[in-house]
């Protein structure tokens, strides 16, 4: 019985892990942080599936094997009150798993939150109801825009603010999200690693227009980026530049 149960659990877990890993969960990997998060996710899947499969297998097996059969209506099960050995095992093993995952997560967090190098480009992100405003200082002058442009493979720090209510600045492709909180400046840093256009989404209920508070970040090769920003700087200056 134990061998067959173990076999079922191993096979079902393998199938489950296979399916779960095969699913395309994430959008494109747009930043240096993305592959690390995606790998972490895969680790979580590999750990979680066997736990779920074990619980459900043991439960379904019990239901199949010890279902009340005709004639057993008056019968009871054996008066088993517990087993200290079993309780120790199923306390210690989850503790080890939790400790391991938490350690991995803590190290990963410190890694992705590592302070950016001096001189990293700063983009000021301002959330208002219901739009994103981006402000970057470039050699050609400050650029203010509702669309975000970034050069590929260059680190950037986002300083995020809000004037009215709480918003959340989220770029799914970058795998980073942080709230825009009135009264404080939040920030995060990363390096975009893929050329392309990616969604920017507001992820904190901010009122009527929350669903429409979206924008796009376009990551460009450095030369192209310079050209685009020069053009925008010119346009910003022409408009007058103040918030």
């Amino acid at each position: 019985m134990w061998v067959s149960l173990a076999a079922i659990i191993v096979v079902a877990s393998a199938i489950g892990i296979g399916i779960m890993l095969a699913i395309s969960w994430f959008p494109a990997q747009g930043s240096n942080v993305a592959p690390k998060i995606d790998t972490f996710w895969n680790v979580l899947i590999v750990v979680s599936v066997p736990i779920f499969v074990s619980v459900v297998t043991m439960m379904l097996f019990s239901i199949w094997r010890w279902r009340q059969r005709p004639g057993e209506e008056g019968l009871d099960g054996p008066p088993i009150h517990g087993s200290t050995k079993l309780e120790v095992i199923w306390t210690i093993i989850p503790t080890i798993i939790i400790a391991a995952l938490s350690t991995y997560a803590a190290i990963l967090l410190l890694d992705i939150q590592a302070a950016p190098a001096k001189g990293t480009r700063v983009v000021n992100v301002n959330g208002i109801q219901f739009a994103w405003n981006f402000e970057t200082k470039t050699d050609a002058g400050p650029v203010k825009s509702n669309l975000l442009y970034l050069p590929v493979n260059e680190p950037v720090t986002f300083d995020i603010r809000s004037k009215d209510v709480i918003h959340a600045f989220w770029v799914p492709a970058f795998r980073m999200q942080v709230d825009a909180v009135p009264g404080i400046t939040t920030s995060y840093s990363l390096t975009p690693t893929k050329v392309g256009s990616f969604d920017i989404v507001c992820a904190e209920l901010c009122g009527l227009g929350h669903a429409y508070m979206r924008s796009t970040v376009t990551v460009l090769p450095p030369a192209r980026y310079k050209a685009v920003m020069a053009g925008l700087a010119h346009a910003s200056a022409a408009v007058g530049g103040s918030k």
Partner: protein, 630 residues
């Protein structure tokens, strides 16, 4: 007519309500005149004062304060037992001090709000079935999901558990009633007031409250007057909850039958004891958070106004300090129910009784140390985030102990897979999934990506629907014969379970995926790429919603004309099953004596409690004969 208004009841409640509104108008205009504010009559001011005070007038009118005021005025008071208990359906619409009546009142009112809140969910899913606007504008949409969540949390899950416990717990511990029956009645009557207030918000100018059930400042401070309905209704629901919890704690501590030591209490009692501790300690924080919002809104305080030196994040800290324990308030009683159902239907003691009791207490303690995991992306420093991640992950350990113990309870039992058992085993599977997504969310690097997305919506519903609601159904079906004296239709019960199980998973499982792919929550519209999954989810949700009608029909039809139930259809050992179905009005003629543990199945002749006059009764309640198979 005059006598109808002088007696406690609905006529007087109506009269007092009108009087209350008049008083509020007077108070508002008087105060505004005294402070030199213009215009002296201001509708918003009247409304805010009315929301606070008119419910109290109603409660006075319906009769919640009569006895106490009489006692306080020094007049003679008589405990009139003739009023105790329900003899007709009308008694359920009055102030009644019988815990069994109050329990049924709670359960019925809670299910009413479940259906209303569930209907709102259907409207939400209808709007989300396709991209673009379908039926409602964004403001109405925001109101729909806000009221949906608020009703289901404060007007369904929390009170229905209170109702089930109210009915069962005194019987289970061998007490004639709760410690404070009049307070119990008051606790109940505050509830429909809170619910009606929340629904009335749809009529307010500017629409219902629409800042989510979390009502973050500054959005909730700036919102139109509909928000005040949430702010104040939550106070009444919270007061109801605290008073009930206080009642449970005193009842459990001081009114157990002789011989019922703490370690001979059924786990439902342990679960409600733990939950009540959480309620008494944590609920004041949500009251405070809403007081602060109210003060900011109505009187210009600066708690959450950064321009005035206030702190926006402070709202979240105060709010979540309650609202995280709240999720355990919404789950622990369900854990108790599952232990009762599994032991009885598997004919085996609950595995690891002591650890099951201690794990409840561990969850209570740990539950206070994790609140900031709802704020991982709010800009908190790592020295807060990493410890909160650790404590959040640690809660998985006592919870895991419970899940493994329940499965071990099934192991080698004699399993009767009837409706309550289906819900209990379904719960184990669904809650394991919800718990796993919870551990994933505890990991900050992942939470940074999926915070406030549909992954969170998936997690919430796996633990609250697949978790709490499944246990609620298990409990309702399990104690239905005891409460109504009739048996429900087993076939319909099974159909209800399977439809719910299948379509629940079809509705909420895909949400994990679209959340990780990039769909945020609380949005009335979304990017084209999510259209297919949203359509599948919406259609599944409609069938899920319809399946609840089977439950409603079963309950109503069986209550009216189902086959009569015996006192102990499940052959259970706990005390509530040793009295008739429904129980006698005062529960017992003499208090039972507890002589053993509550789950001594498999021990021939084992007895948990001796109920009734041993000389008169035919045979004391005992376990089944020989143990089943090995």
């Amino acid at each position: 007519m005059a006598s109808k208004i002088r007696q406690a009841g609905w006529y007087r409640a109506l009269a007092f309500t009108i009087l209350g509104i008049a008083v509020c108008i007077g108070l508002s205009t008087g105060l505004r005149a005294a402070f030199g504010l213009n215009p002296v009559y201001d509708g918003t001011a009247v409304l805010q004062i009315s929301l606070l005070m008119v419910p109290i007038f109603f409660l006075g009118g319906i009769g919640c304060f009569d006895y106490w005021l009489r006692w306080a005025s020094g007049r003679k008071v008589v405990d009139d037992h003739a009023d105790h208990g329900a003899k007709s359906w009308k008694d359920y619409f009055k102030v009644n001090t019988d815990h069994k009546v109050i329990g049924i009142q709670y359960i019925c009112v809670s299910f009413f709000f479940m259906f209303v809140g569930g209907l709102m969910a259907m409207l939400v899913r209808a709007e989300l079935a396709a991209p673009g606007r379908q039926f409602v504008d964004p403001n109405t949409y925001n109101g729909l999901f806000s009221v949906h969540a608020t009703l289901l949390i404060f007007l369904f899950v929390i009170p229905v558990f209170a109702g089930i416990a109210n009915y069962v717990l005194p019987l289970m511990i061998g007490a004639p009633d709760m410690a404070f029956p009049r307070l119990n009645a008051l606790s109940f009557w505050m509830l429909p007031l809170a619910g009606v207030m929340m629904l009335l918000s749809f009529l307010a100018p500017g629409g219902s409250f629409a800042a989510g059930w979390t009502a973050y400042a500054p959005l909730s401070v700036d919102a139109p007057i509909g928000q005040a309905f949430f702010t104040i209704a939550v106070q009444f629901a919270g007061a109801s909850s605290i008073a009930t919890a206080l009642n449970f704690l005193v009842t459990i501590i001081t009114m157990r039958a002789p011989g019922m030591t703490f370690f001979r209490m059924p786990l439902l009692v342990w679960a409600n004891f733990s939950t009540s501790l959480l309620v008494v300690i944590a609920t004041p924080f949500i009251a405070a958070s809403q007081f602060m919002v109210l003060l900011d809104r109505a009187l210009g305080f600066n708690f959450f106004n950064p321009a005035g030196g206030g702190d926006v994040l402070m709202y979240q800290h105060v709010f979540w300090f309650y609202s995280h324990p709240a999720v355990y308030i919404m789950m622990l009683p369900g854990f108790g129910i599952i232990s009762e159902v599994l032991a009885t239907r598997a004919r085996k003691p609950v595995f690891g009784y002591r650890m099951m009791a201690f794990s409840l207490l561990a969850i209570v303690l740990l539950g206070f140390t994790v609140w900031a995991h709802h704020m991982f992306v709010s800009g908190m420093p790592n020295w807060v985030r990493i410890p909160m991640m650790a404590t959040t992950a640690i809660i998985a350990i006592p919870t895991g102990i419970k899940i493994f113990s329940w499965v071990a309870t099934l192991w080698r039992g004699v399993l009767k897979m009837d409706t309550p058992m289906l819900w209990a085993t379904g719960f184990i599977a669904m809650f394991t999934l919800g718990g796993i997504s919870g551990v994933m969310l505890a990991m900050v690097p992942l939470d940074i990506h999926v915070s406030d997305t549909y992954f969170i919506v998936a997690h919430i519903h796996y633990v609250l629907f697949g978790g709490s609601l499944f246990t609620i159904f298990a409990g309702i079906y399990f104690w239905f014969p005891k409460m109504t004296g009739r048996m429900f239709n087993e076939k319909l019960g099974k159909i209800h379970f399977w439809l719910t199980f299948v379509f629940f998973n079809l509705t909420f499982a895909p949400m994990h995926l679209i959340g990780v792919q990039g769909m945020p929550r609380r949005v009335s519209d979304y990017a084209e790429q999510f259209a297919t999954w949203n359509m599948i989810i919406s259609i599944s949700s409609f069938i899920l919603g319809l399946s609840s009608l089977i439950f409603l029909y079963n309950m109503v039809a069986s209550w009216r004309s189902g086959p009569k139930a015996s006192s102990n259809p499940w052959n259970s050992l706990t005390i509530e099953w040793q009295v008739s179905s429904p129980p006698p009005i005062f529960n017992f003629d003499t208090i039972p004596s507890v002589v053993g543990g509550p789950y001594e199945y498999g021990v021939p002749g084992a007895v948990h409690a001796i109920v009734g006059d041993p000389a008169k009764d035919l045979v004391p309640a005992g376990a089944g004969a020989t143990e089943g198979h090995s």
